[in-house]
């Protein structure tokens, strides 16, 4: 059971890649990339988990010593979430621009740049 989060995160990554391959709508492509991002974030945050560990906040720590989860992967995950937010927002903005010019979000129909 200890490896469950890793398995789930890799399933998420696979779902994301499947979305990228099978869908042609630009918004759905952005969603696919977001799903991959979520999978990677889950992978990162589960790296820091210690069995039975408590949240790494020193002022809340009980008097008796107990294991804490690693705080660094949580910081990494947070940063990755922020970056993912920025990339998703930018991709959606480009999708809106493309829609306004071409009137469609179908990746097959908007291809002006070939070869």
């Amino acid at each position: 059971m200890g490896n469950m989060p890793f398995v789930v995160s890799m399933i998420l990554v696979a779902i994301g890649f499947l979305t990228l391959i099978t869908r042609r709508n630009l918004i759905k492509l952005a969603i696919g990339i977001s799903i991959i991002e979520m999978g990677v974030n889950l992978f990162l945050v589960s790296l820091g988990y210690v069995k039975g560990g408590i949240a790494p906040i020193y002022t809340y720590a009980p008097p008796e010593a107990r294991a804490m989860v690693f705080p660094t992967p949580q910081a990494l995950t947070l940063t990755a979430i922020v970056i993912g937010l920025a990339t998703t927002a930018l991709m959606l903005a480009f999708a809106v621009v493309i829609y306004r010019h071409r009137g469609t979000l179908d990746a097959g129909k908007i291809r002006e740049l070939r070869g």
Binding site: I57, Y58, T59, P63, L78, I81, A93, V96, R100
Partner: protein, 149 residues
């Protein structure tokens, strides 16, 4: 949107604003911080856009975009404060002044808000940046998607 949605938004918006401010303010003591609190506040923008339409918030973009710059600049300038030793050096921690109180002992305690030096200030800088940036993203995407743009 219907009158139910609008009424509920009126009630929820101030509460969400206060919760966002709390999350930013206590970023150095409890889970949370600038980004998370900012995202909570920006969700209020999304709520208002959904409930009342984006048109009446159009002029807010003139406030949000400069605010985003101010937040980002404040963060870099706070990092520059430490350049006497190194960049990002926490010069205010333990200095006795603003956010410079001594840290309480380990063990269960509510934590002291007036600690951690430049970290709370950086949380506020990031908070403003995220409130303004994320709010502007939501608002501009809503405005941009309309037929008349």
């Amino acid at each position: 949107m219907s009158v139910i949605v609008r009424t509920v938004s009126r009630v929820v918006a101030p509460v969400a604003l206060a919760f966002g401010a709390y999350v930013i303010m206590h970023g150095h003591l409890t889970p949370g911080g600038g980004f998370q609190g900012g995202a909570v506040v920006a969700s209020v923008v999304a709520l208002l856009v959904v409930a009342f339409g984006c048109e009446r918030w159009r002029k807010w973009t003139h406030v949000l975009l400069p605010l985003e710059d101010v937040g980002a600049m404040a963060f870099v300038i706070l990092a520059f404060l430490g350049v006497g030793a190194t960049f990002f050096r926490n010069v205010l921690a333990g200095s006795g002044g603003l956010f410079g109180a001594p840290v309480p002992q380990l063990g269960p305690n509510p934590g002291a808000l007036n600690t951690a030096g430049t970290l709370p200030l950086m949380n506020w800088a990031v908070g403003f940046k995220v409130i303004a940036g994320l709010g502007a993203v939501v608002l501009l995407l809503a405005l941009f998607g309309r037929e008349d743009g």
